[in-house]
């Protein structure tokens, strides 16, 4: 029932270890990363990951909440969203 592709975005002030902490969490949750793009604009860190949550060891809603909490701990905003929202809005 789980659809595979989802998007994780991380936005916030740049600091050491953001990617390390996010990817560690994903590793522990058995979420596979398929693509990463990242840029720093004016000291702000912007990252997008395309991930596959179909083999994750927890429910999608739990992943989404825990990522949000992880973001709060690091001091950045982390969002997990199903890819469909971007596909439907950005593609004809």
């Amino acid at each position: 029932m789980e659809k595979s592709k989802s998007i994780i975005t991380v936005v916030g002030k740049d600091q050491v270890g953001i990617i390390a902490r996010v990817t560690t969490y994903l590793y522990e949750s058995n979420v596979n990363i398929e693509d990463i793009s990242q840029s720093i604009v004016g000291g702000y860190f912007n990252m997008m990951m395309i991930v596959d949550t179909s083999d994750a060891n927890k429910e999608f809603l739990a992943l989404s909440k825990e990522l949000e909490e992880l973001g709060n701990k690091i001091g950045v905003i982390i969002k997990l969203q199903r890819e469909d929202i971007f596909k439907s809005m950005q593609r004809i």
């Binding site: 975005t9 929202i85 439907s88 809005m89």
Partner: protein
């Protein structure tokens, strides 16, 4: 593959420009609940609603979380109660009991509004419809979430002027009964011409008899997103302005379509339509007036306002229709005064008048909406305002509506407070010349000729 800029653009719309899905409305047919015993009928209605809608709010919240898109309201619309109660209800009080049942069911499933306390006397009025209409003031006073609507005319039938006359008095009575809350009852009561069967927006939502048993209808929003896009084409010719609105409306509607399909799949209830209406909220950055002002008007209500609104409404439809397989409901720009801070500000300084609003309703959905007027306005004048608006709908083959609040004890210059999404608004001036003899005539205005259009 989706790229980072597309992701950033979508999320910026949600976070900074107030993009949201305004409502998921579950339409429920109550035809199978009908009984000639009032208690049995009320039991059937309560069971039907609380069973069908038990997962509506939970599913809405899950979709919100998974896509990170706010879904502001989860609501229910039901078959017009004048039909459902016709056999069991012998008095207006009997109908009030059904209203209370609807209210109880709405609370139980956690929705904020339930629409369909409605009658459809577009041509003739049945005894049951008259009883339901007579019960509206008490029903709206004694319930919280129930919304009432009455369809008073259509392009095919003409206008039922007896019902128009009656509604003038009913609106006044509703205002009096809810005087302690700035006549809030009237904010939950709308009269329409050419009312659609699949409208997801309150207060006019009901589940028409042309519909299937249960259906999911979704209303999108996003005035802030359109406004932001328009600001990027400042000073450019109209073609470019229209293109920008169309492209943005396409994206907004796609979002609505996605949410409608997801809700439908998860609840196992068919998807009906996406309503393309641009609906404002009192929040800054979520306003139709701001869009019109970004097009180059000093203030909404200035000359050019009607043209700007016509252009906006048409471009939104053109973009939206391509984005969704089924479009329905009201699908246009809403111009509720008390729910739009730009409209409020313009009404307060005298730039926006009732007459200009009436002209604006000729080119957009839906009508004179959320307008506070002096409490001393006579019932016949309210009927006159309604008749004018119904005539616009009837002749132009479009839906029009009136949701007007004669605020008890308040006059021009005062402010009425409705709270929440209903907002607050200045009490607006009403033309004081009388139309009493015109309204007193009774009968029907015949259906218009459908040829010789000029």
């Amino acid at each position: 593959m989706i790229n980072i800029n597309e992701v950033i653009e979508t999320n910026k719309m949600i976070e900074k420009e107030n993009l949201d899905v305004r409502t998921i409305t579950l339409g429920i047919s109550l035809l199978d609940c009908i009984s000639d015993d009032l208690n049995t009928l009320c039991d059937n209605i309560y069971k039907r609603i609380t069973t069908t809608a038990k997962d509506l709010v939970k599913t809405g919240k899950e979709i919100e979380r998974e896509y990170a898109i706010p879904i502001v309201n989860k609501r229910i619309s039901v078959t017009p109660i004048a039909l459902i109660g016709a056999s069991a209800c012998k008095s207006a009080e009997d109908f009030v009991l059904i209203a209370k049942t609807l209210d109880k069911a709405a609370h139980k499933v956690g929705v904020n509004f339930i629409g369909g306390y409605s009658a459809l006397p577009a041509k003739g009025m049945t005894k049951a419809e008259e009883l339901l209409i007579e019960s509206i003031p008490q029903a709206l006073c004694e319930t919280e979430s129930v919304c009432a609507s009455v369809n008073l005319g259509s392009t095919k039938t003409g206008i039922n002027m007896d019902a128009v006359k009656l509604m003038g008095r009913i609106i006044k009575e509703t205002a009096k009964l809810t005087a302690d809350r700035d006549s809030l009852g009237c904010a939950k009561l709308v009269v329409l011409c050419n009312a659609p069967d699949d409208n997801p927006f309150m207060a006019g939502a009901f589940h028409g008899v042309t519909e299937t048993d249960d259906v999911i209808n979704v209303g999108v929003s996003g005035p802030g997103v359109i406004n932001h896009a328009i600001q990027s084409v400042k000073g450019k010719p109209f073609g470019e302005l229209c293109d920008t609105i169309k492209k943005t409306a396409f994206k907004v509607t796609r979002l609505g379509q996605l949410v409608a399909q997801e809700a439908s799949r998860r609840l196992g209830i068919p998807y009906g339509i996406v309503d393309l209406s641009l609906a404002p909220t009192p929040a800054v950055g979520d306003s139709i007036a701001e869009i019109l002002e970004s097009m180059g008007l000093d203030k909404v209500g200035a000359p050019g306002t009607t043209a700007a609104l016509a252009l906006l409404n048409d471009a939104v439809k053109k973009g939206g229709i391509m984005a969704s397989s089924y479009v329905g409901g009201l699908s246009g720009a809403f111009i509720p005064v008390s729910e739009d801070h730009g409209m409020i500000s313009s009404a307060q300084c005298g730039c926006l008048t009732l007459e200009k609003l009436e002209a604006m309703t000729c080119v957009c959905s839906v009508g004179l909406d959320m307008i506070a007027i002096p409490g001393r306005t006579p019932a016949s004048t309210i009927s006159g305002i309604i008749a004018d608006e119904m005539a616009i709908g009837m002749i132009n083959q479009k839906t029009t509506a009136v949701r007007i609040i004669p605020v008890e004890g308040k006059d021009v210059g005062d402010v009425a407070e409705f709270g929440g999404l209903l907002g607050s608004g200045p009490v607006m001036k009403v033309n004081e010349y009388s139309c009493e003899d015109f309204i007193a005539r009774g009968g029907r205005i015949p259906a218009p000729v459908h040829s010789f259009k000029n």
